[in-house]
Amino acid sequence: MTVLADRRRARPRPPAAPRRRSATRTRALLREGLLFWALILPNLAAIVVFGYYPTLYNLVLSLTDWDFVQPAPVLVGLDNYVELLRPGSVLADALRNTTVFVLVTVLGTMVGGLAIGALLAQRLRLSGVVRTLAFAPHMLPGAAVGVLWLFLFDPSYGLSRWLFEMVGADSPRWTTTSDFSLWAITIAYAWQRLGFVAIIYYAAILDLPRDLYEAAALDGARGWSLFRHLTIPLLSPITFFLTVTGVIAAAQTFDIIATLTNGGPGTSSTTLPWLVYEQAFVSFDIGTSAASATVMFVLLLVVTLVQTRVAHRQVHYS
């Protein structure tokens, strides 16, 4: 089961065009070339103009000090980075929060999703309904999820109070206390993503080759050992896919934070994307925001590359 698009294998080898020096042939090739560019240019242009160019110019901006109001940015070299990379800076806070947020949501949804996916793959009635409900949150706009959970987390009138009073405690003040705000966005986001992961695992489990299982069962393997030594390795391509996309998606979550906590109180629920936005569009510290964005970019890149490397070793292909 190939999950990774192995670029090397994907490159098709076009049949070698016989190099005849006829004018028509050259003209035909030229036409193909022009057609290629004509077809690809819109997409390519958009990607370059709104993707690559901003990334590069952002790098330049990160070396300046600007507040949007003054006519032009002022070059200050690496000052912004020095400020940001000090221990105890807002970036340090945001990094810490983002790491916790990503780890908890990715691990939580993977483990939970696998369990739920496996559960759904059992022959149980009405699991179809559950499957639909599980996937639905993923479809909702993040803003809707954020506002909904804001209500559910209300310590006086929300579901949170009901749940906590059932065990005889007071509901924590989710969005107004530093201790809990990060957990608030984590829970809301995990809820949104959990069903998505579960359904993917569910489909993947259904796809597992039965003959392997039968063979293993004949050899006397049972229950947990089957799961551990057969299911999990077989699912590793999916796991890899979900982990990589999960990390990238979690690290870029923004709308839930904007509607639920606004990054606060203080910086307790500020993650990297929120920091980048706030520094640019609330504090108008353009240089610092650009620097934060660059740091975020580099980190994500490194993390993804590391994951890919790990995957090459761990992921099993059929």
Partner: protein, 463 residues
Amino acid sequence: MHDRTLTRRHLLAMLGAGAGAAALASCSLPTAGAGSDAGGAGSSALRPDMKQAALGEIPSQYRGRTNILFWAPWTGHLFDVIAEAFTMFNDSQTDIYAAIESVGGYADLHTQFTAALQAKAVPDMVCFPELQWLQFYFAGALAPLDPYFTDEWNLDIYLQSYVGEGRAGDETYVVPFARSTPIFYYNKTAFTELGLPVDTTYTWSQLRELGPEIASLTSSGQPVRTFAYSAADGWYASSWLWAFGGAWTDGFDVMPDEGPVRDLMGFARDWVHVDGHAYQAQAPHTDFQTGLVTAVHGSTASMRGLTEAVDFDLGAAFMPGEVDQPPLVPTGGSGFSLVRTDSKERQDATAELMKFLGTPQMSGWYHVRSGYVPVVEAARDEPEVRELHATDPNFTVAIEQLANAQTVAPALWFQAGVQALEKSFASLTGDGVEVQPTIDALRVELEDVLEDNRDDLEALGVS
């Protein structure tokens, strides 16, 4: 900020450094020395590169007029009121159509307007709180209003307490409109029920002592709390500290006397985390309305909204004192400023709008429907206003408190300073952090704000 651009230096030089001392008691900004043909207006009041921002749909009955745009920093009820005032203006004449957009709150307006300056698509009129218009004045974004003053419409008709805050150099950049002072709102019904004093002034310690008694009432299954803080109490914090006998800054000195600050912070923290009778609410006014808490503070601008929303007797008092009684309170709210754009015609039209809203009738009308102080002196004699004051004295509290109102400390003239203060108190009341580290961190942040804006402040006479 490090380097200033040439234009800015130019502006500041024209303001004249070394101006007179800040006359805080009369809440007026120091006027520059002689020789300044004043900052922004030395150059013309027009900026050809500033176009008008998007207007939205124009109702058919108003088509074909000069269109002007106002970005309102209000939402909900307050926005509805000002929108109605605009409709009255539009219906009262046929030359101008004034469009109004809600952009959220003051912080949102700051964000949007800065972005608008960058994008060169701006509204014609804006409404900044207290002294936050200064940043935009220095950026050359505002036009002076003096050329538009007439016999009927000029600075003399307004409450003088608010006038000074709108001037820089010899020129006026802001006319008062939605001005306020903070008010201590309490549940009079609950207080009376418990036999507690009403219709008086309170001290913080006194309120703290009332905690257990108030907690004997319950609401929605919880004991009722005495007071609700919020995460955005920066404005009120000025009054708190003045009540405890301290000051946030004195010139460029941050917290010259830490004693009162320690007392204040310790008090807030302990009231929440030791006594448990105060707390930090996500939405203090909601909890107040639903009866979860017996007192909150709010701007006098909430007066109308709260009066209609609560189902108990609303009490409104001066802000609580402590060492000083009654305490000084900060002036608040906002006034209108004219934006420098590419069209004199639109600027003239905007001045007309300001004139309309500055008549005693409209000022009184706005006061009755919102709770903001009637900024035009003559408005208090309007029949509508007189009647309101007779039947609901709550609306007079802010006016009376004006005698104790003064401008906030310079560090708080900037969003960054306000936010630093808010964060400190949010941590104290929300998380219960230690007092001394909070003071130390706050000191650093306020000092940074003052340093960043040293040149501007010195030009204004702060020392």
